[in-house]
């Protein structure tokens, strides 16, 4: 089991949340104080360096126009972390290739970080959450097609050792010729995220990519991981595929302290967005929107909103407690979903401060991780096993 530290780099110094209609897309940046922001950036980056020193891997992502995430350019933060650390893997989860309109630039950035980190980079791709549609002004009805064309193009760019032309549906290039090539061969491991679309999961599995999902209840995760396992093909990529899951994680010396920390992490789940940002037209299939019109579907994350931490813990969306309790919860989750390979931990959210974040990270690394580190890699249900 690989363990990854993660924060979205939130900016929590906002007016009372019930006085805001949205924290995403259209919250005016007059609420942002650059002096506070500068401190936050440096603090969050320090925490990634600490994660590396603690023996954890480092997971980064990006969002735009939102107080929930100041990391608006994950290649920048990943490059800083790559240069400031010497151990632990670094994964961007992910590059919003459907929203960035320039897959070749992404391929270059990833190749550069892979070189600087001497092959410690995993490259994630995301279709992007619904809110991102507005910041990027991406046509919401074709993000899946754009995502896959972008992934295919970056892989071609990494692996082709001769210049080539590309005239796809979304990107046209007359002469693709990547300098530098990636450090890893044939290219860094590729990760992809999902939250219900089994066809995309099967596609990722068939290509030997890592599949990752976030903040979902046990039974949904199991269905997705089963779909992955039964379609996995080893394509010889570094790391050998696998499955990743992200809960909110807080480890403490006492249960009371853990509960207090967990409650602070729920700031992330409470992040509000106006309804039009949650379900842009065509982002989900027509069948989902038929239910939306009936009032029985209101976006993918709403189900988890406003639940108690006890409920979230029961569902595996939150993991918190003393080190032994946290290890037990992770093993329970592991058994329930049929095993997985990467534990992605959102260990910081909202206004959880530096000292308490580091305390939780340290307790996890020293007292929990040894208990779960040797959980076996997940096994494909058919085909040859993933290469270790």
């Amino acid at each position: 089991m690989f363990a990854w530290h993660f924060t979205e780099m939130p900016y929590p110094y906002l007016p009372p949340l019930d006085s805001l209609s949205t924290m995403r897309v259209s919250l005016p940046n007059s609420h942002y104080d650059p002096k506070i922001g500068a401190d936050l950036y440096n603090r969050y980056l320090d925490e990634y360096v600490i994660a590396s020193e603690l023996g954890l891997n480092m997971l980064l992502n990006e969002h735009h126009q939102t107080a929930t995430c100041l990391d608006v350019a994950a290649p920048l933060s990943a490059a800083i972390v790559a240069r400031q650390t010497t151990k632990g893997r670094i994964c961007i989860l992910g590059n919003p290739v459907a929203n960035r309109n320039d897959p070749i630039r992404i391929a270059e950035e990833m190749a550069m970080i892979d070189n600087i980190s001497r092959g410690r980079l995993d490259v994630g791709y995301v279709r992007g959450v619904p809110y991102e549609i507005f910041a990027a002004n991406t046509n919401p009805t074709q993000t899946v097609e754009k995502l896959w064309e972008g992934i295919d193009l970056t892989v071609m760019a990494w692996t082709s050792q001769e210049p080539f032309n590309f005239e796809g549906r979304f990107t046209h290039r007359r002469l693709v010729n990547l300098w530098p090539r990636p450090y890893q061969t044939p290219h860094p491991a590729i990760w992809i995220t999902g939250s219900s679309d089994l066809e995309s999961i099967k596609k990722a599995a068939g290509r030997g990519y890592v599949f990752a999902t976030f903040l979902q209840p046990y039974d949904k995760v199991k269905a997705m991981f089963d779909a992955y396992r039964s379609n996995y093909h080893d394509r010889g990529l570094p790391g050998g595929g696998g499955m990743a899951y992200m809960p909110l994680v807080y480890t403490a010396e006492t249960e009371a302290e853990a509960e207090a920390g967990a409650k602070e992490l729920t700031w992330y789940l409470a992040a509000k967005a106006e309804p039009q940002y949650r379900n842009p037209p065509g982002y989900v299939p027509v069948s989902f929107n038929v239910n939306a019109l009936r009032g029985t579907y209101s976006g993918r994350t709403d189900a988890m909103r406003a639940q108690s931490i006890e409920f979230l813990k029961e569902q595996g969306v939150m993991v918190y407690g003393t080190p032994d309790s946290v290890a037990k919860q992770i093993k329970r989750f592991y058994d329930f979903v049929g095993g997985f390979d990467h534990l992605l931990m959102m260990q910081q959210a909202g206004s959880l401060d530096h000292a308490r974040t580091v305390k939780s990270m340290t307790l996890f690394a020293k007292e929990v991780y040894p208990q779960i580190k040797d959980l076996p890699r997940s096994q494909p249900l058919n085909n040859k096993a993933a290469a270790e």
């Binding site: 002004n137 037209p281 065509g282 027509v286």
Partner: protein
């Protein structure tokens, strides 16, 4: 609901399945509905069908029409509609285009001098007249849905749709229409940057009708659109928003009948 008999068929046009309704009898009149297809079940079309044979296509991705990947803009749809009229062997007919349908009518009119005898556009999209930070059309995708409804309708009660009592097929059409509208109109938003310079090609007599309370595209916008089309007449309808023909059907019908003759 419509009382008249509606003949709906799927026609194969340039490889795609296009749903086309024929209703009423008389000289042919092309009806290009708004992006929500709200005219289809309104009494308005029955009234028009008393004196015309209405030809009412559903655009690709709307209604039951298929939506191939190569169709990505109203410009593409307009060529398909020209193919449709070729297929039906009809030309030199009048058209009424509502909202998105108005834009489609403009696209068609700039591509053929022979296709339309008259153009009646109602709160049409299609042309940007303002500057880079002006919103010619309020953003229906970033505004809160209740705000969008208030901008669109003068009488909010008329905006209500009874989704709870719709069949799966009806709801799927609502959802498809919403999705396809975004597919074709997301960016550039509700306009074709080329269209403005093509409007000089329009020769048919043109009437542009606008809801006085349209908050999505204001009457001032409508007037500036009319000014770009040679000889176009501009009329407003009071106590009506973006769909004046649905909010004030009698006023609209009087204007339409007198214009179409």
């Amino acid at each position: 609901m419509s009382q008249m008999s509606r003949q709906i068929s799927m026609l194969k046009i340039n490889g795609l399945d296009l749903e086309v309704e024929r209703r009423g009898s008389g000289s042919p009149l092309l009806i290009l509905t708004n992006e929500e297809g709200l005219e289809l079940d309104s009494p308005l079309l029955d009234r028009l069908a008393e004196s015309h044979e209405l030809i009412i296509p559903s655009a690709p991705g709307f209604g039951h029409s298929s939506r191939p990947e190569w169709i990505s803009s109203p410009d593409d749809i307009s060529y398909l509609y020209l193919d449709l009229l070729d297929h039906l062997a009809i030309k030199n007919l009048p058209v009424i285009g509502f909202s998105l349908g108005g834009w489609l009518a403009l696209e068609m009119a700039t591509k053929s001098h022979e296709i339309f005898s008259k153009l009646l556009l109602v709160d049409s999209y299609g042309v940007k007249t303002g500057g880079v930070t002006d919103r010619d059309f309020q953003d229906v995708w970033t505004l809160h849905p209740t705000k969008v409804a208030a901008l669109k309708w003068h009488d909010l009660d008329k905006s209500k749709r009874d989704f709870a009592n719709m069949t799966d097929d009806q709801l799927a059409i609502v959802a498809r229409n919403i999705e396809s509208f975004a597919r074709f109109c997301w960016e550039p938003y509700l306009h074709n940057p080329k269209l403005r310079q093509r409007l000089n090609r329009i020769q048919a007599p043109t009437l542009i009708v606008w809801g006085q309370n349209d908050g999505i595209a204001t009457p001032a916008y409508g007037k500036s659109l009319a000014a770009l089309i040679k000889g176009a007449r501009f009329e407003t309808i009071a106590s009506a928003g973006h769909f004046p023909h649905l909010e004030q059907p009698e006023v609209f019908l009087a204007l339409a009948h007198s214009f179409l003759g």
